[in-house]
């Protein structure tokens, strides 16, 4: 069922690329419309899964990725509508298509253990997914900032100069995305830490819960991310690390988020699997 949104994301990607190359306003509007339809189809898929399985599909890695893609699409659409800038779509859409491939190739929703039905678990996962979507946006904005920065510095005004908003706007958007992401990340991690002892008491027979500690790769990497983004926020305000350095940090931060999200979830043995 995840194939329909995937196909629509792919078609929207083509439209965004077309728009980026030819700067045709009508194609740009068409691209946005396609993305809206893709997000709607994705909403429908997630809604159907929720009805079918009786819970929002976020527990397993595959369904979490699907929900993440959906949130990122919505977050991007929100940014596009509020800023009226479409040039970033050409960087976001490939990410959406690549990640959506995973749920499309792994159909179905992982079964959810009864212990995960706690509302705290819901807050934990949705806060983290929102944080990751914000970081993805920040990363893309950061990448475009660096591309534009380099063109202006090198005095070679080309592709990005003609299409991207100004450096100052990109810098501000990046900061906003990082602040929002950092808030959700912090909330998600605190809720996770509060909920773990409760869950242990509730379901003593689950080995993963008992073994959960800071040495678990997934938790460890999440802490690394938190440290990086906290530093970025601090550096931007206290030591003037905005602009290009902030952009690089956003890219590094999201690379680690992605590492945590895909390879660690699937290939590394950890206590965070349910």
């Amino acid at each position: 069922m995840n194939f329909v949104p995937l196909a629509l994301y792919a078609v929207a990607l083509v439209a965004y690329v077309w728009h980026f190359v030819n700067r045709d306003a009508a194609v740009g509007r068409g691209a946005t419309t396609l993305l809206v339809f893709a997000a709607l189809a994705h909403t429908f898929v997630i809604g159907m899964q929720t009805v079918q399985y009786g819970h929002v599909p976020v527990a397993g890695p595959t369904s979490a990725i699907s929900t993440f893609v959906w949130l990122l699409a919505l977050a991007y659409l929100y940014t596009e509508m509020t800023t009226d800038e479409r040039a970033m779509g050409v960087f976001i859409l490939p990410l959406l298509v690549a990640l959506q491939l995973i749920p499309a190739l792994h159909p179905g929703v992982e079964p959810q253990l009864p212990v995960l039905q706690s509302p705290l678990f819901g807050v934990h996962v949705s806060a983290l997914l929102l944080a990751y979507a914000s970081f993805a946006l920040a990363c893309v904005i950061g990448v475009t900032y660096v591309l534009l920065f380099k063109e202006i510095k090198a005095k070679h005004l080309g592709i990005f100069y003609a299409r991207l908003p100004s450096l100052q706007v990109l810098d501000r958007m990046n900061q906003q995305a990082i602040v929002i992401g950092w808030l959700f990340l912090t909330v998600g991690m605190i809720v996770g830490a509060v909920w773990t002892p409760q869950a242990r008491a509730y379901a003593p027979g689950i080995p993963q819960l008992q073994a959960m500690s800071l040495r678990d790769p997934k938790i460890f990497v999440a802490l690394v991310c938190w440290t990086i983004y906290s530093f970025e926020l601090f550096a931007a305000r206290r030591i003037g690390w905005g602009g290009r350095r902030a952009a690089y940090l956003s890219a590094v931060g999201f690379a680690i988020v992605l590492l945590n999200f895909v390879p660690i979830s699937y290939f590394v043995d950890n206590s965070h699997k349910f």
Binding site: R23, D24, A25, L148, I152, K153, K155, L157, Y161, A162, P165, S166, L167, Q168, V169, A236, I239, G240, W241, G242, G243, R244, R245
Partner: protein, 453 residues
């Protein structure tokens, strides 16, 4: 009906002559009225800018109108005919339309792709509309040219990119800072170049302009000349620079004033605020190595000139796409113009029907004389029947694409209804009524009101 264009432009005439043929001096509306009274044209629009003076007219007799236009141009502007004539160009019908489309697109401009001419074409049409000298043909022509202008602007890069130094500087500042509203500019040096660029920045929304010069009096005088600018003494240069976003250096100093080390000191308390330095002095006022500092964007006059050249080259590469749009819209307009070839046939057909109706009505006259209401009713009904019968054939004729088909249909209609001989006879026999008809039967505009669209 033919389209005719007679005019001069920067391509055919020197500025001295263009100045003398500037219709804006004596008033475009007056020129239009004078043109209308001459009687050689049916419709007229005068396009007068500093780079061109062009008369777009619709007429019946091309050679006669052409000669009359040359006379008008020289008489109205008080320039001898022999002076004007060698610089004039004239083109007719679709070539005239193509010329206007290229003008509206900015393809015929001195700086290819400049946007002002589009507004001037629009204004020329508005003035002609107010003077009632633009009719169906020129209205259609000018609206088509607006479509060309809009499409070229949105679909090609013909008008994109700054093509002058000060525009290039402003465009760059916009790409770094976004909105220039709350930004402050410092001009170092009280020279002419710096003043010009600062004035341009101010017109683009920059709020604070400060002039710093070695002589305070010079700085104050330049600040006054710009208007709303402040002057600061030379000793305060570092603190002024620390508070600014854009710096324009244009002094006559022989050695760099702003070294890399000095800018580094200025940048430290600014943390991460970008500083855009435009060095338009020759020799340069800013050490080139300063551009290595993070968040310092340094452009000198050569860099700006390079971007201007690149933009001009990019515009040149967009010309082919713009020409394709011109060709496309010309094709569409040509189709419409050709369909107007059917007008004489339509007029003749309608006249033929109207004559029959009148003849039959006059035969009934004595029977209906006693009941005037019935007479009016019959008149109205017969009129309506004719209108309805002729609606479809008129619409069909109008939508025909090429000249040959129009000719064939016109031929068929003429033969089937015997239009040629009868119409002529009638015109001769009933001159007053046909004159009235001529005025009334404007087949397309009339039918349009009753047609589906």
């Amino acid at each position: 009906m033919h389209l005719l264009l007679v005019g001069i432009s920067h391509k055919t005439a020197p500025v001295e002559l263009r100045e003398r043929l500037d219709f804006q001096v004596r008033g475009v509306d007056r020129a239009l009225q004078t043109l209308a009274t001459r009687g050689s044209t049916r419709e007229a629009v005068v396009l007068s800018t500093c780079n061109r003076a062009e008369l777009y007219v619709a007429c019946d007799d091309l050679p006669a109108t052409r000669a009359d236009m040359v006379t008008f141009l020289s008489e109205f502007n008080g320039v001898d005919r022999s002076v004007v004539a060698p610089h004039l160009y004239d083109v007719s019908d679709l070539d005239a339309a193509r010329h206007l489309f290229r003008v509206a697109a900015g393809l015929d401009s001195l700086v290819v792709g400049e946007p002002q001419v589009f507004g001037q074409v629009k204004e020329a049409h508005t003035i002609a509309g107010e003077a009632h000298t633009a009719g169906p043909v020129l209205n259609r022509l000018f609206h088509a040219s607006f479509a060309v202008g809009k499409r070229v602007r949105t679909e090609t890069g013909l008008g994109s990119g700054a093509v002058s130094i000060s525009y290039a500087a402003v465009a760059l500042a916009r790409k770094i800072f976004g909105d220039l509203g709350g930004r402050s500019v410092v001009v170092v040096g009280a020279g002419e170049m710096g003043k010009l660029t600062a004035r341009h920045m101010k017109s683009q929304g920059v709020q604070h302009v400060t002039i710093v010069s070695r002589t305070m009096a010079h700085a104050a005088r330049t600040a006054d000349a710009i208007g709303g600018a402040a002057a600061s003494p030379w000793e305060d240069l570092d603190s002024v620079l620390g508070a600014s976003d854009i710096v324009i250096t244009a002094t006559g100093a022989s050695a760099p004033i702003l070294t890399k080390a000095r800018i580094e000191t200025i940048m430290r308390p600014r943390r991460n605020r970008p500083l855009f330095i435009i060095d338009i002095a020759v020799p340069r006022d800013v050490e080139p190595a300063a551009s290595e500092i993070e968040q310092v964007f340094l452009y000198n006059i050569d860099d700006l000139q390079t971007t201007v050249r690149e933009n001009l080259a990019r515009r040149a590469s967009e010309v082919a796409r713009a020409e394709a749009i011109v060709a496309e819209e010309l094709e569409r307009f040509g189709g419409w113009l050709r369909s107007r070839g059917a007008i004489p046939t339509v007029v003749a057909l309608r006249q033929h029907c109207e004559n029959i109706r009148r003849a039959e009505l006059s035969r009934l006259d004595y029977k209906l004389a006693s009941v005037p209401q019935a007479r009016a009713l019959v008149d109205e009904i017969t009129h309506l029947i004719i209108e309805k019968l002729l609606l479809t054939p008129t619409e069909r004729l109008k939508s025909l694409g090429d000249t040959e088909t129009v000719g064939a249909y016109a031929e068929a209609l003429t033969r089937l209804f015997g239009l040629g001989e009868r119409a002529d006879d009638d015109t001769d026999a009933r001159a007053p009524s046909s004159e009235r008809l001529d005025g009334r039967v404007e087949p397309f505009t009339r039918i349009k009101q009753r047609g589906p669209r």
